[in-house]
């Protein structure tokens, strides 16, 4: 088996494409997602209809506009003009402040603000909504720290773990998940399929070496390389994007290792079904990559999707891993809060290994 591992490493390091997939893609993905594809909001054009024009309403507007998330596109003067402001298609949000804003706040501890959003892009709208609400609730605390009768719902959960609202924090767990899935499952399935395609698998099966040794020998190098890949991503997140890792690092690494092994067993399973590298590649792409990007809740929140798609999402291992690393990395939770997800991933691992063994036996008969 030692020979096997040496041979496998030699082959990986001689194949430029493998190296690019192993190390180039993770780096590019982190940088891409981190810099270019940030879905955080910045300089969103908004309009304001201030019916009060008094002290607090002016203060609140100043606070919102100085947040660097929003810029004022238009001052709307009447309710009738609201429709028109949206029709122009430029503004994403319109804030309506009621009459006698300051008076209502001081006398009745109660004031109304209406947030009207352009929801043609629901994700952005949701984000703008929570940013604005957060600023408003901040404002409330400023003017009256013991203020109880709050008119707005304070979306605390959105802000707590990501106070600067940097979306890269949300992306890193997703990128790690995708890269590990890609590297582990795709690379192993391709490399096993390659042995079948070249006919070397047959020779190996004729030799005294046991099938389990063949599989372990093929998989072991990828465990190491995937793990290094994960470390690179974490390192980049930590240095380039200054992402804090709140939780227990050994736990995070152990969970990553478990996920890698799960992805590898999935890769082995794919390779039992695929006889050529192309088929293995296509299967990995369509069976793994796309669902794990689309359905893991990493770019597109699952809760915005139809029920049936959400259920399919439950069957995607990446979804659970994203939850685990978000919990550990960003919230700093321990194993106590992620044991369920960990068990699910363990279950997937056992399931894929079992299926592969079964398929392998059928082939021998």
């Amino acid at each position: 088996m030692k020979n096997f591992i040496i041979k496998e490493f030699l082959q990986i390091f001689r194949d430029k494409r493998s190296l690019i997939i192993l190390f180039g893609i993770p780096i590019i993905q982190v940088l891409l997602f981190g810099f270019a594809l940030k879905n955080e909001i910045r300089d969103v054009p908004i309009a304001i209809l201030d019916n009060s024009k008094d002290l607090y309403s002016q203060q609140l507007i100043t606070k919102i506009l100085s947040s660097e998330y929003f810029i004022l596109e238009e001052n709307v003067q009447s309710e009738k003009a609201i429709e028109n402001a949206f029709r122009k298609g430029k503004i994403k949000q319109l804030i309506v402040i009621e009459n006698n804003f300051t008076e209502n706040l001081e006398r009745e501890n109660r004031a109304k603000i209406q947030l009207i959003l352009d929801a043609s892009d629901p994700n952005t709208a949701g984000m703008i909504n929570s940013y604005t609400s957060a600023i408003i609730s901040n404002f409330e605390r400023e003017i009256n720290p013991s203020f109880a009768g709050v008119p707005m719902i304070i979306p605390e959960t959105q802000m707590r773990y990501n106070p600067k609202l940097d979306s890269v924090f949300m992306f890193v767990p997703g990128v790690i998940t995708i890269v590990l899935m890609l590297v582990s499952a795709m690379m192993t399935s391709i490399s096993i399929a390659r042995e079948k395609e070249l006919g070397t698998m047959e020779v190996l099966l004729v030799s005294p070496i046991k099938p389990i040794q063949i599989i372990l020998g093929k998989v072991f190098p990828y465990v190491i390389l995937s793990f290094i890949s994960a470390l690179i991503i974490l390192g980049l997140a930590f240095t380039v994007f200054e992402m804090p890792i709140v939780g227990n690092i050994p736990l995070l690494l152990a969970e990553s290792l478990l996920f890698i092994i799960m992805a590898l067993s999935l890769g082995i399973f794919i390779s039992t079904a695929a006889n050529s590298q192309q088929v293995a590649m296509l299967l990995s792409m369509f069976a793994l990559l796309l669902p794990s990007i689309l359905l893991s809740g990493f770019i597109f929140p699952l809760k915005n999707m139809p029920d049936i798609i959400q259920y399919i999402g439950y069957a995607m291992p990446p979804k659970w891993f994203v939850i685990i690393i978000k919990n550990i990395m960003i919230k700093g939770n321990g194993i106590g809060s992620v044991w369920k997800e960990t068990l699910i991933i363990l279950g997937f691992t056992v399931f894929f290994i079992g299926l592969s063994i079964k398929k392998f036996k059928i082939r021998l008969e």
Partner: protein, 246 residues
């Protein structure tokens, strides 16, 4: 070549049957291969050759029947059989992106050869096959003929008493094929048993004995000269066509 003595059989097959569902791929095969013999295993595509060779190599289980390879039982002593056979298919079975020495080291390692032995073998093969110019290159850069001869040598790196060759000369030019057969003769002369399948009927003439499979059964088995006489044919090709057409 070794004569037909009792207790000197490399392969004994009795009533071998292999079914895939209702399809009978091997229908009560009976044959013996002597030690040191070059045994040609012929048949049209789909006649059941590959199925049989896979069973002999332990890649597939027989449905019923007795099979004995290198003196070991296929049901109980599969591990011992694996140590005592070599195998090469038409796909060459070398790793293109490894060098000659790395390939030998890998396959030698799998068969549990010592590091010293592997070194000796590497030097021996490079010398014997005239590969001195290619010691630094990857196997994919070797000319086809060299590659094939190297694949054969690697298949017998652990010095097995029996070698199974599954269409070893597929897609190779006639000169290279001839050189390859010279290599086979040399090994047979050292006492190795060669079990070879082929589509080339001129190669069938090189074998000590040949069997011809048609539709899962062995229709003929004898020395090429006797087969030609029996079927009143000029060449093995004619014998084959007569039999395959039924």
């Amino acid at each position: 070549m070794a004569e037909n003595k009792s207790n000197s059989k490399a392969v004994i097959v009795k009533d071998l049957v292999k079914k895939f569902g209702s399809f009978v791929a091997n229908d009560h095969l009976n044959f013996e291969v002597d030690k040191g013999e070059i045994f040609g295993f012929l048949g049209a595509n789909g006649a059941g050759k590959t199925t049989a060779i896979k069973i002999l190599c332990g890649l597939s289980h027989p449905t019923s029947g007795e099979v004995n390879v290198a003196g070991y039982d296929i049901y109980k002593q599969r591990d011992l059989i694996k140590k005592n056979i070599g195998y090469m298919s038409q796909k060459f079975s070398l790793y293109d992106d490894l060098s000659i020495a790395e390939n030998i080291r890998f396959y030698g390692g799998i068969y549990g050869l010592s590091r010293k032995k592997i070194k000796e073998k590497t030097a021996e093969y490079i010398e014997k096959l005239g590969l001195q110019a290619y010691t630094k290159s990857m196997v994919k850069e070797l000319p086809l003929g060299f590659k094939q001869k190297l694949a054969f040598s690697v298949a017998i790196v652990h010095d097995p008493p029996i070698v199974f060759l599954d269409e070893p000369t597929g897609g190779v030019d006639p000169i290279t094929r001839r050189q390859f057969w010279e290599l086979i003769y040399k090994e047979a002369a050292k006492g190795k048993t060669i079990f070879v399948t082929t589509h080339y009927m001129d190669e069938a003439e090189y074998c000590d004995r040949v069997s011809i499979m048609v539709d899962g059964r062995i229709e003929a088995l004898d020395k090429p000269a006797i087969l030609k006489e029996t079927y009143n044919a000029e060449s093995m090709e004619e014998v084959f066509i007569q039999l395959a057409r039924g």
